[in-house]
Amino acid sequence: MKKIEAIIKPFKLDDVKEALNELGIQGMTVSEVKGYGRQKGHKEIYRGAEYIVDFIPKIKIEVVVEDGMVEQTIERICTAAKTGKLGDGKIFVVPIEQVIRVRTGERGKDAI
């Protein structure tokens, strides 16, 4: 099992969610996050006061999938999240040791 963590542009959330639903991925965790990479922040000046945007608002999506699904998932996310411009985001793939569904105690792929 792998956890796929994707950082995407906020307005791409619906597209990515839809793409993952089409793959049959039902559950995901979505967070509003801020950060920067090559796309840097900037500052605006209004009436002498500086308004600095140092961390750029992004969306983080986390899904856990079976190993066999990893490539497809990555591909779908890339297609859906891509604008071709800077700041389209990144995807991290992390190995997962174990998944447990709290309600039933199921483990492994049954619990995904």
């Binding site: 307005f11 996050v33 604008t83």
Partner: protein, 876 residues
């Protein structure tokens, strides 16, 4: 059957009663359940074996109901609180009595809490423990020695309550505040706690306890008798309580336990059982929650006013009257509240009904409870024509605009029913709930909160967390009235069915403001703000805000700096008043970023503004007319979609048509060009369509220079599908005979250069050496380079001023290419021998080059390049 234990019978009867009571939504169920328990206790008391022995031992007892059971408010899963009250001491065989009376109840699943105490013990405990104290306030004799109970009650009043009335009131108020803050979290708005929350049954209990401490109130009806509520309020109180009890009973039954919080998972079932069906008032759950909120809000008001009033009365017995006049002779302030001088005055001058609220807003004082009651009594004098009475609208405006926030006068007006009478349209959004986890408040409460949030931008402390809002609020000070009207009415469209509540709301607001006689210009402003109140937040969260076009589209909708600022403030206030899911630092950052980008565009008036919008519409129509018959309309529409706003603004119609033509012929080639001889001049126009790539511009300029064409001016555009469209005006080579061949060679050169098979800098340097035509250094003005990052939020603008010389444009654009910058738009113009080049550039990642060191590097690189060329007389 006759031998069945009373508890078994009770179980059966209870089950039947509950089933029947829930089915008929019977508000009396709680009392019937209490009575049924009473009957059980009476029966077991009579049949008791242990009991009579106590009488023989001259230690008789009374069975007393405490707390909710004492009030005869027994819900389906409520606990039963009992006191076995003895005269002097609790006898040894008390245990046996409990076994006899209580254990059977446990066996049938009723939770019973019991205590066995003597009168002295009871009084002692009540004097030190608030919960025991309030439980005993509600105590009621079930059966047994009634003189014992009378003595107990009499001593309780004389020894426990009366000596410490003030302290008890204070303790109860304090614990009420603590409870309300514990359960006052916004999450409880979505899943209200009917027993403990703000406006819950506990609030009613609190109110009742205070009345009991101060007067001989024994029953809910006494509240009216002793003047704690008016007759109208009593009716409303009973309605609210009955409704909450019915809901609570269903909740207990569905949850199967003593659950007092209306959790999401239970809401649909409760709503269905209560008979709500989907209709124009929304989903069943929304309708149910709306009624729950309405009842709880009313109880909330009651307890707040009650506490205030009781406090005021207590202090009035200590403090002397301190009457102060107000601006109206019929309204005065006394001990921190506002009063009408007489009720007749209201009949004579109905406008007083709004004047008292105006005073309240001005002085930050609430209305006293009697004044509130008078307002409600005389509400029939208020209708939608009321605000047209002399002074009335002005009073309302000063309430709307009052900057004091300690008393929320609009909320007071809403809860007293005044607001709805003045603006009947408000009725449609009253207590309207939107069933999701996003909207925390009913629509009317949210609207009033939005007004309050906007006012808070004017408060000193706002500067700390949102200096931008404070700054903008100051900027639009002359328009505040309209912004506040818009805030008050922004969701008014949610009260009626439509597919677009913003547009509908604008329409309704127009009719309201028209009725009030405002000027069209101002009505337009309010209607605009309401119609577009979601524009910024939707764009910020659902669109690519780093796309200039998105900001331009926004800018063109708003078109006006003042309106944009007001719209931003309304958006922030609206989001803040919706709930924590709608407003956080993350959303705030997105919204603010978009705001600055749109502000920039609207302020410059270059790409947005009424004039521009009109011109662009005209231009589009002209373009399609001119293309009619030549280019398929649908295809043109598709290509038109790629044209950037700047392109459409600056390219002329014949040029655009030329580009469309070229583009259709481009196919897979890297570029395609067309050379025309201008009719009345000897210059040539080169129109180029190419796949855009970094360095394209410098290569074209270089090839033209290499072939002896002097560039007089040029324009460079980029379409959104990465197609470059350039227009060069050049003077032809001196040797006119072989011009055609020259152009062919230039085309081959460009092909080679794009394939990186031609070293343009070297070739041009060689060519320049043969000219040797630069003026001597003494006559030259030094070139200047200006880098601007404020003009546009999306591009860095480089301006180069220089004396002209062949190859200049190539060297400048080549330097820009070497700086790893992409030219998106350029205007090159020559004035006599001075040239002015303007380039809109971004780095290869699509970002502005706005770091100070980048700006410095741009200037240095271009100047060094020019310097070097000029020194060498054109030799690189």
């Amino acid at each position: 059957m006759a031998d069945e234990h009373p508890a078994i019978l009770l179980k059966k009867k209870r089950k039947r009663l509950i089933t029947e009571g829930l089915k008929t939504n019977c508000a009396e169920l709680i009392r019937l359940l209490s009575d049924m328990l009473d009957a059980y206790f009476c029966e077991v008391y009579e049949k008791s074996i242990v009991g009579p022995t106590m009488r023989i031992e001259r230690n008789p007892y009374a069975l007393v109901a405490l707390g909710g059971y004492g009030r005869r408010e027994e819900c389906v899963q409520s606990d039963v609180d009992l006191l076995f009250l003895f005269d002097r001491n609790v006898p040894e065989n008390g245990e046996a009595l409990i076994r006899e009376i209580i254990y059977p109840l446990w066996d049938i699943g009723v939770t019973v809490g019991h205590a066995t105490r003597s009168i002295d013990e009871s009084l002692e405990l009540a004097a030190t423990d608030l919960d025991t104290f309030t439980a005993m306030l509600d105590s009621r004799l079930i059966c047994g020695m009634s003189p014992l109970f009378s003595t107990f009650m009499e001593r309780f009043r004389r020894e426990v309550i009366l000596p410490n009335q003030d302290r008890w009131i204070e303790t109860i108020v304090k614990s009420c505040r603590e409870r309300r803050s514990r359960f006052g979290d916004s999450a409880y708005l979505l899943e209200p706690n009917i027993k403990e929350g703000v406006g819950s049954l506990r609030d009613y209990h609190t109110f009742r306890w205070m009345a009991m401490i101060l007067s001989e109130v024994r029953d809910i009806r006494d509240l009216e008798y002793y003047g704690y509520v008016s007759s109208r309020e009593y009716g409303r109180l009973i309605d609210a309580l009955n409704w909450l009890w019915i809901v609570r009973n269903h909740l207990h039954d569905i949850a199967g336990r003593k659950c007092d919080r209306l959790y999401f998972e239970y809401q649909p079932r409760v709503a269905r059982r209560l008979g709500f069906i989907e209709g124009k008032n929304g989903q069943p759950v929304e309708q149910m929650l709306s009624k729950v909120h309405s009842a709880m809000e009313w109880l909330n008001q009651l307890v707040q006013i009650g506490i205030r009033e009781i406090d005021a009365n207590r202090s009035s017995s200590r403090n002397p009257r301190s009457v102060t006049k107000t601006t109206s002779s019929d309204i005065y302030a006394d001990r921190g509240t506002l009063h009408f001088s007489t009720s007749e005055a209201i009949v004579r001058h109905p406008v007083l009904l709004i004047r008292i609220f105006e005073e309240s807003a001005k002085q930050g004082l609430p209305l006293c409870i009697d004044a509130r009651r008078l307002v409600q009594e005389f509400l029939y004098l208020v209708n939608e024509a009321f605000l047209r009475m002399p002074g009335a609208l002005k009073a309302f405006e000063s309430i709307l605009m009052a900057s004091r926030v300690e008393v929320n006068v609009l909320e007071e007006m809403a809860s007293s029913g005044m607001l709805e009478r003045l603006i009947p349209e408000f009725t449609s959004i009253r207590d309207r709930i939107q069933y999701d986890r996003y909207h925390l408040f009913s629509v009317d409460a949210h609207s009033l909160k939005t007004v309050q949030a906007i006012k808070s931008f004017g408060a000193e402390q706002t500067k700390e967390w949102c200096s931008l809002c404070a700054e903008l609020y100051r900027d639009i000070s002359s328009h505040r009235k309209w912004l506040l009207w818009a805030a008050l009415l922004h969701d008014i469209g949610k009260g009626v069915q439509s597919d677009n509540h913003s547009r509908k709301g604008a329409e309704i607001a127009r009719s309201i403001l028209n009725r009030l006689g405002y000027r069209k210009r101002d009505i337009d402003t309010v209607a605009f703000l309401i119609e577009h109140h979601l524009l910024l937040i939707k764009t910020a969260t659902r669109r690519d805000i780093n796309d200039e076009e998105v900001a331009i589209t926004c800018g063109r909708t708003v078109n006006n700096v003042e309106r944009l600022k007001m719209l931003y403030l309304l958006t922030v206030a609206d989001s803040m008043s919706t709930g924590p899911k709608a407003w956080n630092e993350w959303t705030a950052a997105l919204l603010r970023d978009l705001f600055f980008k749109v502000l920039n565009i609207v302020e410059r008036k270059e790409l947005a503004g009424y004039q521009v919008v009109r011109d662009m519409a005209r231009k589009k129509a002209q373009l399609f007319d001119a293309a009619a018959g030549r280019i398929d309309r649908n295809e043109l529409e598709r290509i038109y979609g790629w044209m950037s706003p700047r392109y459409l603004l600056y390219a002329e119609i014949p040029q655009i048509l030329e580009h469309v033509d070229l583009y259709r012929g481009l196919e897979s080639r890297p570029f395609i060009w067309r050379i025309q001889t201008d009719v009345d001049t000897s210059t040539r126009t080169v129109t180029i369509c190419a796949r855009d790539r970094p360095g394209l511009f410098s290569k074209i300029a270089g090839v033209l220079t290499l072939n002896g064409m002097n560039i007089l001016n040029a324009q460079v555009f980029t379409w959104r599908n990465n197609t470059a469209l350039d227009i060069f005006h050049v003077s032809p080579p001196v040797d006119a005979y072989f011009e055609g061949e020259r152009w062919m060679r230039a085309e081959r050169n460009l092909e080679a250069a794009l394939k990186e098979q031609l070293d343009l800098p070297a070739a041009i340097a060689e060519k320049m050496a043969s000219y040797g035509s630069l003026p001597p250094p003494g006559d030259r003005r030094p070139p200047r380079v200006k880098v601007d990052n404020t003009e546009s939020s999306f591009f860095t603008i480089i301006e180069v001023f220089s004396d002209d010389f062949p190859g200049l444009l190539f060297w400048v654009t080549d330097a820009i290419f070497r700086l790893r910058l992409d030219i998106w738009l350029a205007k090159i113009s020559t004035k006599v021998d001075q040239i002015l080049d303007v380039f809109y550039v971004r780095d290869f990642d699509g970002q502005k080059a706005d770091a100070p060191e980048q700006v410095e590097e741009i200037q240095k690189t271009i100047l060094d390049t020019l310097d070097c060329i000029m020194k060498k007389g054109g030799k690189s």
